[in-house]
């Protein structure tokens, strides 16, 4: 095998790999501290609170503009989902009805459930 220990490209790749490992290890060590958790969750809590307040404000704003609210759109989406679900059920029934003529997918003839493993049934027991 060729010795590529002096190849600048290989050296660069090794350096990137080592840098990645080092930075990840350092970051993991930092993030393991309770102080990090406290700071992260304080920042996250502020952000979540602000998001909630903004959402409430937007809801009022949309109402004043005579635009549908999120709840109304969600309701509409739910009705569409129900319609889609019913269409899927109709589709499944139609496919089952066409079972005799189909060549693949729903209704296609299934292979027999007769397969045996090449080496026979296993021996049981705890292994680690």
């Amino acid at each position: 095998m060729a010795d590529n220990s002096s190849d600048p490209v290989v050296l660069w790749q090794k350096m990137v790999g080592e840098m990645e490992k080092g930075l990840n290890a350092f970051a993991n060590q930092t993030m393991s501290s309770p102080e990090f958790s406290k700071a992260m969750n304080q920042a996250g809590g502020v952000s979540a609170g602000a998001q909630k307040q903004f959402g409430e404000f937007m809801e009022k704003y949309l109402l004043s503009m005579n635009l549908p609210s999120r709840a109304q759109l969600v309701g509409m989406a739910e009705r569409l989902q129900n319609i889609e679900g019913q269409l899927n059920e109709i589709k499944a029934v139609l496919q089952q009805m066409n079972a005799g003529t189909a060549t693949s997918g729903f209704g296609a003839p299934r292979p027999p459930r007769t397969k045996r493993p090449p080496s026979g049934p296993p021996s049981s027991g705890e292994r680690k």
């Binding site: 010795d3 220990s5 002096s6 190849d7 490209v9 050296l11 790749q13 990137v16 790999g17 840098m19 990645e20 930075l23 990840n24 970051a27 993991n28 993030m31 393991s32 501290s33 309770p34 990090f36 958790s37 406290k38 992260m40 969750n41 304080q42 996250g44 809590g45 979540a48 609170g49 998001q51 909630k52 969600v74 989406a77 739910e78 989902q81 679900g85 899927n88 499944a92 693949s104 997918g105 729903f106 296609a108 299934r110 292979p111 027999p112 459930r113 007769t114 397969k115 045996r116 493993p117 090449p118 080496s119 026979g120 049934p121 296993p122 049981s124 027991g125 705890e126 292994r127 680690k128």
Partner: protein, 360 residues
């Protein structure tokens, strides 16, 4: 200096020429990269045989002349899409199983809608999985079922198996499944009960956005995002590397939101109180003690798993009540254990040799 001393001077012109060619290829392929989409994923032919809310049940069309009697139901992790197990032909776990004669179903998840924020652990374990099991039984005509759970799909499968321990699950296979949540060190610290107000978060946002889930995964290896971009640029002349990068990158960033109550339960019951490990877990008022699982079980863990380290997964086999149980540790990480070139050589043949004899 030492490096220079070992330098083969005669090879320098050849090396420069090769690097110049690669630089040109990088420019061409780099332009291609941004102007094309990645490979089509999850393309093994399948039918949706049942869909309800955040749940989809697929049946994959058989690829062999005969199949094993016992069908296989794969339960995906709720944070990620199921196509990680069905990447591209030749690198698809699903395709592998089909060709080896298994009848394969998958319980995959879609993003919960805002009004589904009230879905809790009991909906997943006592409703969605049993509902899918019933559909698999109906569709296959078989009562027995083998269940494969990946990551948190493994946790859900364990909870299901411990509550419905009198059947119809015949075999259980878990991939990288944590049960000691204290050992998910960084996740534990991020969700430290002294500082993390899960109630406030869930009450504010409803469903937990995918950005939060993705960020918490990426924070486990914060430098890797940048270095993977550097490595992509270096290897952008290599079509196979780029294809693989795009597949995994797309999947890793395609994170799902989590239903609010479900997230609250994971945080309080598993992250804070470690109830699965402490044998105190209940779901919808029903005790879920994994010692009550008696079916044959295989647990595959990855040697270099940074998401579910071995310490978090190692007690599973000791705790289940099965006589026929096996843990196998394979080289690789959390994702490369189940997908990609390494999985083709390591996990998949192991799983086939274990499951085949137990599927008749």
């Amino acid at each position: 200096m030492n490096a220079l001393a070992g330098l083969d001077l005669a090879s320098i012109p050849e090396r420069i020429q090769s690097e110049v060619q690669r630089a040109i290829q990088r420019s061409i392929k780099g332009a291609e990269y941004f102007s094309t989409s990645g490979p089509t994923l999850g393309s093994t032919p399948k039918d949706i045989i049942h869909a309800r809310g955040t749940m989809n049940l697929y049946h994959y069309r058989p690829l062999s002349d005969e199949v094993y009697r016992v069908p296989v139901l794969i339960v995906m992790a709720t944070t990620n899409r199921g196509y990680i197990l069905d990447m591209v032909p030749g690198q698809s776990f699903i395709e592998f199983l089909l060709k080896r004669g298994y009848d394969v179903y998958m319980l995959d998840w879609t993003p919960p809608r805002p009004e589904e924020k009230s879905l809790g652990m009991e909906h997943y374990v006592l409703d969605f999985i049993p509902d899918c099991v019933r559909h698999v039984q109906q569709d296959s005509g078989e009562q027995d079922i083998s269940v494969i759970g990946y990551c948190f799909g493994g946790v859900l499968s364990l909870l299901y198996g411990s509550i419905f321990n009198d059947g119809p699950m015949k075999n259980l296979i878990c991939f990288t499944t944590p049960i000691d949540f204290r050992e998910l060190k960084l996740f534990s610290n991020f969700s430290d009960r002294r500082y993390f107000d899960v109630d406030r978060l869930v009450d504010s946002v409803g469903n937990v956005p995918p950005e939060i889930i993705l960020s918490s995964f990426e924070m486990l290896r914060p430098a890797s995002r940048v270095t993977s971009q550097v490595q992509l640029w270096e290897n952008i002349w290599n079509d196979e590397y780029v294809k693989s990068y795009r597949m995994f990158d797309r999947w890793a960033t395609d994170t799902l939101p989590l239903a609010g109550e479900y997230f609250r339960s994971i945080t309080k019951d598993l992250m804070w109180d470690n109830k699965l490990f402490n044998d105190t877990m209940t779901v919808g008022g029903r005790k879920a003690d994994i010692a009550s699982i008696k079916v044959p079980i295989l647990h595959a863990v990855a040697e270099h798993d940074h998401i579910v380290p071995y310490e978090a997964a190692k007690h599973l086999i000791a705790k289940v009540g099965s006589q026929d149980k096996e843990e196998v540790m394979l080289k690789g990480g959390h994702v490369s254990l189940v997908a990609g070139a390494n999985a083709v050589k390591r996990l998949w043949p192991k799983l086939d040799s274990w499951l085949g004899g137990r599927s008749i």
